[in-house]
Subunit: 348 residues, 2 copies
DNA sequence: CTGAAAGCGCTAACAT
DNA sequence: ATGTTAGCGCTTTCAG
């Protein structure tokens, strides 16, 4: 590994000059020719700064801590992590990972991150429950991913559940469906309530009346399949909006048993990834995936803008994400996630 | 953050003494009482070493680089990452993440990791293809996860596909199934071949003759559902072993259309996570998940043992994993992954 | 047995 | 405009 010393010797200047130049602090301080030479030498030698040494002086590391609390075994956060990773590497940061089970070890692990001098935290918890932000995190810049918190102290990137419900329903309406059922979650989560709101709004805007016989909320221990079966037989819906992969599955199963073909006899839009997991789906099912990747990406951008105390500009996203809003704007409905700014109050 | 200086002052000794003691180099060098006092003070002050500063001297960081190449959007590695993370934090290491698309940026990102002074790499690529190990990685301790490589220079932790095929088939045989079909992959991957071997071996050991009419290999673009349908109607199998979630789905669909109930009329064991995704499965489906978590955990243990040049002992696993083999032993069939030692040849 | 001192690679205030 | 210098927190050799 080349050091500044090597560059300095090769360029025939002192280490401090090199430092000045390579950190772009040379404006009006170092003679342009010298600066150019230094830069060239650095390039030639393939010099890369040693982040450890740098952080020892500056206490800025270019490291972001990604803390995720996983529900046992469910790799919920993985796509958000990937998004965060992409954004992060784009801006020259890197991610230190802590995956915790929320136990006492979390504190320990988080403080480990702190010792490594992370510049800020991303905190992700796959829960629709309202939770508290771990105390250890609130002393650094922090952006939450998809976590409902009791206080509104930190920016949050979260799914736009209303938009999901609205969008799915509207698409079914636009496709010509007459009787659109909603297979929801019996547990009264915020997600459930908000999606249903979106569903109702789409109905309302289309001039249709809401019919609660078309809404079946099933739990995880209910005889769910039977409940959906009954809906089929009593209401004969021609379209379904499903809360998640499980619910989509029930509809699928019921349809198959009745010789009905999805995409022909029935339209189904489910939240989840079932069509992805079962990648050669015949017939066609439409799913709306929670935009985890985008949330991770966005959250990381927000965190970096917080750390560097500057706006990242209107287009911090790679091409595929270009339909995402600018980092500081409200999210349009067509993207199913949004940023809640919450002024970040860092208690030191 | 407390520093050694603080501890030294508080204990009334010099910094070097503190260093000696806290690194356990005090045997016969520091008076036991003094050592005790130092330790106590460190404890009281909550002193934690600064890894950055330490690595500046020792060039050991306690950081492991996790490099994963993702197929676009498939968060395949996430569980392996979680396993690695668990093992890693157990031994006081921490994971720096690089998630790459295999492009030119990979080199850049990997060298970023190198600058952060990672002690070693975990490399994971979700592919049954034979690939080369990225050149940038071979200069550090390296353990591969689930990656078939052209050369055998590095230790690999990989799924034991034979055991999966054998185990699934044997379980179906033991459950009393008469006609066990295999829905495989038309693409002739190593995975496919090895699983089929396991299937055949189980047949052989049970004294049954292999009947290739019961094997249907479907591709991703085939009229897969039709092919499985035909198998149903021509052979009337009473059990299925399925290559992955897609194939399991086909069986499920065909069964539903015929009014057959899995778990009653049919036994199905599929490789994958379908029963997990559709978490309230009715009726019961059995899946064998690729032990990604375990592979990650194991690989990290192996890597650490490589870095520290010591055996981690026979029980490096948490309780839930205690049925996994010792880090240096061959894997028994009951765990569906194995370690291939491959002497690690680090070219400096 | 303990402390002083050098130095890892880098930054930045201070001299020149 | 450039160089000198003093550390950041830690390890380790070498004197005492």
């Amino acid at each position: 590994m080349m050091t500044m010393k090597d560059v300095a010797e090769k360029a025939g200047v002192s280490i401090s000059t090199v430092s000045l130049v390579l950190n772009n602090h040379d404006a009006g301080r170092v003679k342009p020719q010298i600066a150019a030479k230094v830069r060239q030498m650095a390039e030639e030698l393939g010099y890369k700064p040693n982040p450890m040494a740098r952080s020892l002086r500056t206490s800025r590391t270019g490291i972001l801590g990604f803390v995720s609390e996983q529900i046992q075994g469910i790799p919920y956060t993985s796509k958000a992590l990937q998004g965060a990773q992409d954004a992060t590497s784009r801006y020259g940061y890197i991610i230190l990972l802590v995956d915790t089970d929320g136990s006492a070890r979390q504190v320990e692990q988080t403080s480990t991150l702190q010792r490594y001098g992370v510049d800020g935290f991303l905190y992700s918890k796959p829960s629709s429950q309202v939770t508290e932000v771990p105390e250890e995190l609130v002393h650094s810049p922090l952006v939450l991913i998809s976590t409902n918190t009791v206080d509104n102290r930190f920016p949050i990137v979260e799914p736009n559940e209303f938009a999901i419900g609205y969008d799915a329903t509207k698409r079914l309406i636009d496709s010509g469906a007459k009787k659109i059922a909603y297979i929801g979650n019996a547990k009264p989560t915020i997600t459930q309530a908000t999606r249903l709101e979106g569903y109702r709004r789409a109905f309302k805007e289309a001039g249709r009346t809401f019919d609660d016989r078309l809404v079946v909320n099933v739990g995880n221990n209910d005889p769910a399949l039977e409940m959906v079966s009954r809906l089929f037989d009593e209401q004969h819906p021609d379209a379904f909006f499903c809360y998640d992969d499980s619910r989509t599955w029930y509809v699928y199963e019921c349809a198959a048993r009745r010789g009905l073909t999805i995409g022909k006899d029935l339209s189904v839009i489910g939240v989840g990834n079932l069509d992805f997991i079962v990648d050669t789906f015949t017939p066609k099912l439409t799913t709306i995936a929670i935009p985890e990747y985008e949330m991770g990406y966005w959250a990381a951008c927000k965190l970096i803008s917080l750390i560097e105390k500057r706006s990242l500009g209107p287009h911090p996203f790679p091409d595929e994400l270009s339909n995402l809003p600018a980092i500081d704007a409200a999210s349009p409905a067509k993207v199913h996630c949004r940023l809640i700014e919450n002024e970040s109050v860092i208690s030191k």
